[in-house]
């Protein structure tokens, strides 16, 4: 990092004072409603205090009064640009709580769609990050590909952003072979698109000057700050929930975890670009290995789950009788507490659920990566110019819906 030399006005006899500047909450580069209270010495940030909570909807409190399946659409609204992974994270947590094992096809479908979501989220990150720093073209190109992914989601489930696709114990509906072919075509083409983005900004001198040596954090310190995801891996720490605590089909699939070295904005950018390539690899393997069979477990609770618990389907029953025979006893949710994490595009998304045996969570805590990353903004901005604050906000890939919950 280059040292910024400042000639102070007071040295040459001028009256100077620190400037306080309020950035946000309605600032286009803060990716939502983040408010930063900056104390400036000239153009150098002396102190930075983030204020969050403008988008607080009380999802944790709301979920305490809803049955387990009805909580899931709320999790869509956490990180609204990668809602599929939020849903999957929640479903996995409840499945582990209830002891339900989703069928293999459901696992592969989830993995495939989670990686598509990761690509779309990283595309949006690259688009806005580049736009903030001043590269307009990348923004438009990224949206072109993202649109294709959203179109695929629409084909599967009928919604583009807030999908609510997984279900506790599987997924909501099966995918068709035509869809898989469409994904295959997209995946074949996509790596060349990544090369296009890289042509535009990878060696661009303005991009390099704006990103290299900005927001540097060492690996050890990044862990202490609780950073996760690509923000942590840019500092060279190999921590990926998909590898360390595998869920869904990730333990049957080969992929690498790209790591950075310097822990600056540029390295994190490189990490995310490589991650998109790894996602392509994962999707290819998912399409090849996609097993046949059911998509929803027999033990899965019904959507209109009774607060007492859910009823299991009888194994042998006549398929065409009007009365579906359920076992008479409610399978209650076990009492206990559990933490389960998934690797969201932003970082580690954790769900801590305390169950008291009823059909509603007693306490549901969402450990959202954006919240933790927002806490680290002051550390990353320290001693930088005010324009670099924008680069720092972009690099930690913050979504306020998730930060404020």
């Amino acid at each position: 990092m280059e040292q910024v030399e400042i000639t102070k006005g007071s040295d040459i006899g001028l009256h100077t004072q620190e400037l306080t500047l309020n950035m946000g909450p309605q600032h286009p580069a803060t990716h939502g409603v983040l408010r930063l209270f900056l104390e400036l010495d000239g153009e150098v940030v002396k102190r930075c205090t983030p204020h969050v909570g403008y988008l607080h909807r009380g999802i944790e409190k709301l979920s305490e009064s809803r049955a387990y399946p009805s909580v899931m659409p709320l999790t869509d609204r956490l990180d609204y640009i990668s809602s599929m992974i939020n849903n999957i994270g929640y479903c996995i947590a409840v499945e582990r709580l209830m002891g339900i094992e989703p069928p293999p096809r459901a696992k592969y479908i989830r993995t495939l769609l989670a990686e598509l979501t990761r690509i779309s989220s990283h595309l949006l990150w690259l688009a806005t990050h580049a736009l903030d720093i001043g590269a307009m073209t990348v923004f438009l190109y990224c949206f072109r590909e993202r649109e294709q992914i959203l179109g695929m989601f629409e084909d599967v489930i009928g919604a583009r952003l807030t999908v609510s696709y997984p279900r506790i114990g599987g997924v909501r509906c099966d995918i068709t072979d035509g869809f898989l072919e469409g994904v295959g075509r997209f995946i074949d083409e996509f790596p060349s698109r990544i090369v296009e983005y890289e042509t535009l900004i990878d060696k661009n001198r303005i991009w390099l000057q704006r990103t290299k040596g900005i927001g540097v954090i060492s690996g050890e310190e990044a862990v202490r700050w609780g950073l996760t995801g690509a923000t942590l891996r840019g500092s060279g720490i190999n921590y990926d929930v998909r590898k360390k605590m595998p869920y869904d089909a990730y333990d049957e699939i080969e992929f690498d975890v790209p790591l950075g070295q310097n822990g600056d904005v540029y390295d994190r950018y490189r990490c995310r670009m490589e991650e998109m390539r790894q996602s392509v690899r994962i999707i290819q393997q998912c399409i090849e290995k996609m097993p046949k069979g059911e998509v929803l477990s027999k033990d899965a609770p019904d959507l209109d789950m009774n607060p007492k618990g859910h009823k299991r389907l009888e194994p042998e029953m006549s398929l065409w009788s009007a009365n579906v025979s359920f076992s008479n006893e409610y399978t209650t949710t076990p009492k206990g507490e559990l933490y389960s994490a998934v690797e969201a595009p932003k970082g580690e998304l954790g769900f801590y659920i305390v169950s008291d045996g009823t059909g509603r969570p007693y306490r549901m805590r969402v450990r959202s990566p954006s919240f933790v990353h927002a806490a680290a903004i002051p550390r990353l901005c320290q001693g930088h110019m005010i324009a670099d604050v924008i680069a720092v906000i972009g690099t930690i890939d913050i979504v306020m819906g998730e930060c404020d919950r």
Partner: protein
Amino acid sequence: MTFRDLINKALFIEILKGLALTLKVFLTKPVTIKYPHEKRPVSSGFRGRHAMVRDPQTGKELCVACMKCAMVCPSQCIYIKYTGAEGEPRELTKYEIEAYRCIYCGYCVEVCPMNAIVLTEHYEYASYKRQDNYFDKERLLKNWDEHIKSLKATSYSNKFWKPLGIDIGRLPANKRQAEVELKGLSKDDLSQNIKEA
């Protein structure tokens, strides 16, 4: 810095490469569409405006007031009232959906045992008045009429009535053959049906 890097930097090679790419894309066909004039085709099963299915025989709604949709709704925006004693068929007196609060998760469609409610593929229903998107029963039935008018097919089935790949034993009887006949549902036929009934 090597000599090669120096040349690259002096001649703005990386910027020229970028410009060449943008020029290439400039000459290709645009991917954007001119929205109000051109419309993007919506895939089937899109979760758009709500409608209540009109029974082709009676011309009334299919709903039996089982309250399942109101119970499962995560945003709790469905209001139902009914009359009828315990053990007797209920009669629906009020069915209202507040579309501004709805989050379009499709749970009501999936949970309905009668295929009475549906999220149609219609998505252009912004209006100047708030009341326009507070759907009562009549309005929901009208939405359905508008929806089937735009369809060319003779029958209609929604993706969430019978989700693909779900074990048929999980579905209530009506959901197993989830299709609505659209024949005889034009306005004239309907009024005739109602008269006969």
